[in-house]
């Protein structure tokens, strides 16, 4: 087979056309990433007067630091919680909307809106709803006999950030699930109905397995989102508290670096995060090439 090749009359045109992308990548990724890599091996004194090159000492310290390990655990709980909650809710919505014939588009539009809300704005929204003094939900929970206070209770705080983070991701997941559901041939569902499977059984034995490639893709995307893209949500709701209970890794990078001024450790933490992203991306591509399940 012959591949069609575009030929440029000017030697420089292709480079010029490529330049914006390359420049953006250089300025916003390669340069900061290498800075972080460099800084992660430096150590500054508290006044920023002296900087020493310490090789991997920052990393060694991190992995010996109980605070850092606790933050890893917090991040894991947060990421798994957010992923599970947003995936299951959006699948539920997608199944319900997919069942509709008439007002399908209307509901789809509504369900997509949260995605357009900036994370920080979403955080403020949830901060108001759950505000222990003026929020509506603590008020209602109190009537049910539950004393909600995410400023004091670690569990409440975690629930709040998971809810706020999951809510934002529902739109995205919903769209993918809806597309996934619509690509399942109707005749399969009909065949299963004739084969004597009721609604619930059909869902778990036919629809859910056939959705597994979508589910897996979304799982990775959601974990990545929860780990790296939720700074705004955390910052606006709990700011990592109470007592580090919601201090996830990305937030810790910011706190240690910009508030604690420990730039070396903060840079080392960023490098670890970068490593995690790379691993997740590789996993995702590997699996998608192989396609899950069938």
């Amino acid at each position: 087979m012959q591949t069609k090749r575009m030929t440029f009359t000017s030697r420089w045109l292709p480079y010029v056309l490529l330049a914006p992308q390359v420049i953006i990548t250089l300025i916003f990724f390669v340069w900061p990433a290498s800075q972080a890599l460099w800084q992660s091996m430096l150590r500054q004194d508290p006044f920023g007067l002296r900087t020493t090159f310490v090789w991997f000492r920052n990393f060694e310290r991190l992995f010996a630091d109980p605070n850092y390990l606790a933050s890893m655990k917090t991040t894991a709980i947060f990421a798994v919680g957010t992923t599970l909650l947003s995936l299951s809710l959006s699948l539920l919505f997608a199944v319900m909307v997919n069942r509709m014939i008439r007002s399908r588009d209307l509901y789809t539009t509504f369900l997509v809106w949260p995605y357009a809300v900036a994370p920080a704005v979403a955080g403020v929204l949830w901060w108001f709803i759950f505000n222990p003094s003026v929020g509506i939900l603590p008020y209602m929970l109190e009537m049910l006999g539950y004393d909600w206070n995410h400023r004091l209770h670690a569990g409440d705080a975690m629930a709040l950030v998971i809810l706020a983070a999951a809510w934002k991701q529902i739109s995205y997941n919903f769209l993918f699930f809806l597309a996934g559901l619509q690509s399942i041939p109707q005749s399969l569902i009909e065949a299963a109905a004739i084969d004597g499977a009721g609604r619930t059984k059909r869902f778990w034995t036919i629809i859910f397995p056939l959705l597994s490639p979508t589910t897996f893709f979304l799982m990775v995307v959601n974990i990545v989102y929860a780990m790296f893209d939720t700074f705004g949500v955390i910052h606006a709701t709990t700011a990592g508290g109470p007592a580090q209970a919601t201090n996830i890794l990305v937030y810790k990078v910011y706190r240690d670096g910009f508030i604690g001024n420990n730039l070396g450790s903060s840079a080392a933490q960023s490098v670890i995060l970068m490593g995690i992203v790379i691993v997740l991306t590789v996993v995702q591509f590997r699996w998608i090439e192989r396609r899950v399940n069938y």
Partner: protein, 346 residues
Amino acid sequence: MARIVMEALSKVYPGGVQAVSDVSLDIADGEMIVLVGPSGCGKSTLLRMVAGLERISSGTLSIGDRVVNDLEPAQRDIAMVFQNYALYPHMTVYNNLAYGLRNQGIARPEIDRRVQEAAGMLQIADYLDRKPRALSGGQRQRVAMGRALVREPAAFLFDEPLSNLDAKLRVQMRVEIRQLQKRLGTTSLYVTHDQLEALTMADRLVVLNGGRIEQVGTPMELYHRPETVFVAGFIGSPAMNMIDMAYLRDRGAAPGTLPTGTDLLGVRPDDLRLGDGDGLVLSGTVALLEPAGAESHVYVALDGSGQVVTVRVPGLPDVTEGGVLTLSAPLSALHPFNSASGRRVQ
């Protein structure tokens, strides 16, 4: 094993499309009924109404001795073979066959026995561990058949099950399905738009047109005595020639002793002979000679009107394109129709 009775079944889709109108049919136990008709005439709709996949707008449907109008597909004791096979892509062939049995809560050894038996009958025993995507079209078709077989249902429903196969495989599967159906004696409803499939497989043939039944009968009845112009044109290939009586009268060639009201005369390509004779006599020039192995088709443009009639003759006839020709057909082979009513004149 069951009798299926349709009484005045109608289907109106939401949006107002009347897909099936007033269809009544009594299918005997063990009978193979083939539904034919042009695209969009409501064949699939009717089949899906029997399966329980489409709601019945009006009329009564009974399978066995039960009225099943409001029963779920699973409760109707039927099995269906889909045009695209609708195999579960994430399950092995074995599980595809076993799925329906498991849902019925049948015991494991019995499931295994039935799956093995069906797999043996359909020669798919070697593929039981494979997923459908690792099978050829023909093998998938067999698995789809197997999934219907293992259920041992009261009736089989087929919606163009062979239309995705190549011509040779289609003939082979057609024979196998028919043999299986006869051996098992399961009442079957089979939708196709393939003439030959319809004629060869059916105990009785149902011709649908625009959602209504045109005619019901054995393949031979429909072939030899079509009741409507539509059936006459639809059954048989090449299609029956339709000659206007006005044309024949103008040329003084109208055969005598036809029933009153006849204004359209049908004659099958097989019934026309080259050369003069009794009954209907036509003359024209050869427009095209089409050899087709054991037989040949001669297309003749009639003098005066230029209408092309088809003649089917054995072997290769001694005619040349452009040559003048006389055709004839005996009176007994003519089908008299009235074009206003579209029906046969008695």
